[in-house]
Symmetry: C2
Subunit: 353 residues, 2 copies
Amino acid sequence: MDFARSVTHPVTHSVIHRACGGSVRGVTAATDLVGIDEIRAAAGRIARYAVRTPLLAPPLGDRRAGLYLKPEVLQPMGAFKIRGAVNAVAALDPEVRARGVVAHSSGNHAQAVAFAARAFGIAAHIVIPDNAPTRKVEATRAYGATVDLVPVAERVTRAEQVARETGMTMIPPFDDRDVIAGQGTIGLEIAEDAANLDVPVAAVLVPVSGGGLISGIAAALAALAPEVAVIGVEPELAGDAAESFRAGRRIAWRAEDTGRTCADGLRVPCVGELPWAHIRSYVRDIITVTEDEILAATRALALDARIVAEPSGAASVAAHLFHGAELPAGARVAVVSGGNVDPALLGRLLGGS
Amino acid sequence: MDFARSVTHPVTHSVIHRACGGSVRGVTAATDLVGIDEIRAAAGRIARYAVRTPLLAPPLGDRRAGLYLKPEVLQPMGAFKIRGAVNAVAALDPEVRARGVVAHSSGNHAQAVAFAARAFGIAAHIVIPDNAPTRKVEATRAYGATVDLVPVAERVTRAEQVARETGMTMIPPFDDRDVIAGQGTIGLEIAEDAANLDVPVAAVLVPVSGGGLISGIAAALAALAPEVAVIGVEPELAGDAAESFRAGRRIAWRAEDTGRTCADGLRVPCVGELPWAHIRSYVRDIITVTEDEILAATRALALDARIVAEPSGAASVAAHLFHGAELPAGARVAVVSGGNVDPALLGRLLGGS
């Protein structure tokens, strides 16, 4: 393994970094990247199931001027993940799809795949770590999925085993071109709506975890609005993609390190291989935000924009509010990627003023 | 004055009722009601300023099946009021408009008129009772309006005096056909979006205060989807419109009685005259909900639909969740009219589970 420490992007705590695992298939040619036609096809497939979210321009006060919001919290299961999951399930050959789908996730991907399976009337087997919050387990079960609680270390092998034994298709959370194309429909919509604004959009701010979301959005905007800078946002405590971006190669953090951030949707310790190819080709920069900034943005979204974001979803807004100097000047769109917040956390944030 | 007690709709506390004040101009002929052409014109006028809100179908679990949400909390100042205020300001003769506008309000109407004035580059003089929350005063000032804090009893006379002395135009909160036409654009959008649903919409649930919102929506749906039942929802503690509906005549409650509900946007003690004409012609029923039901709906909206509603805005959802037997069977749309909630109240609701 290749151990390295960040030097270009200071981190104030001790973190061991290593190169990402997985077979390096060398996805680098532009022809391997998800194209606008795939994203347009995805838009057609998901139209019946996902909300075509509006672009909101809340007048959030001086510091927030020029911030437009893309509120993916309004999706049926509360996060953008529904777009990629529905597209991936819809794109399956009908005979293959009929055997069902399997996924492993402790978060929004679990609910998204369960939702997509229900939408297509097929079985879903979702492997969830047995330390996941009851609330998320219940939400996944509510869509009719079979929930398989396993020790966290076994989740991948269990899901692969189920896929092998049942013929169900694994729906990956981010390292998949149909999933990326589905998330890319957000970029399609931003490009359409930005054309109707009074001001040009300078940047789109996107939370980064495994990288599927930013890959799809960046691919869409590269085709439709290449003048717009796509900027990734990560918690400082899970800044593997920011470090990778500066190093020019994928670097993984340890899960126990990324696990420290309150933004539990952004703890994936390394971006995926296909996402990395998109990030290298299309993304202008990846910046990091602190835990306090993420929580302040979560609170501001609830009170000033009237939308409930989970910390992971508010990271993009934190970048605008607290790191404007690191971003292109002008109007910005923040993708608020999800809203499945711990109720007690949000309650504390609101009570604390 | 005409004192009366409700008999058809039991209320568990002592309330003195009286007939509404104001000149009775006898607005009863259908030709006096706001028509679909006026509402379409309003839609054109407000398009640049108001969000064309989506119709959300959150899978909120069994009890919530069949509930679609119209989230007006996503409007720039957090409530539907922006539609009526912008339309009323836009409809003014340009020379008259240039002299500015005046309004009196302790709630969302204040911010809506201030927003509309800023949008058109004119002055706004907003009279606010001096016991209003600082948060609402600051929000109104943030749009550049002149805020005039006066004792609550003087707010109407002060606003009228300002209008008389300055030539500014008074923008009424609900008893005005341009305001009603603006709110009616919500009905227009519901009719458009309902046509794309898999199921027919049986009812649209609308919070009732002065009656402008339900009037506009009912007028639009009477023209575009007359098979849809428009149902008003009021707090039991401010049930003047429900009582009026049953009595067949407008009945006012005392402000000190309607003031008991936590739904501070629904405390107007009597629906307006022009709204009453619309309610009599177009509204199927008006039902009441309890304080506990309103607060439970507010919590459910935050956690299951990821939108922040103020209690007034959640009343419609409370009707669906807790009074289904009083409503038409089938899919329902709840208009979530506003989201300017007291942060501490929402914090308590979220912490209390």
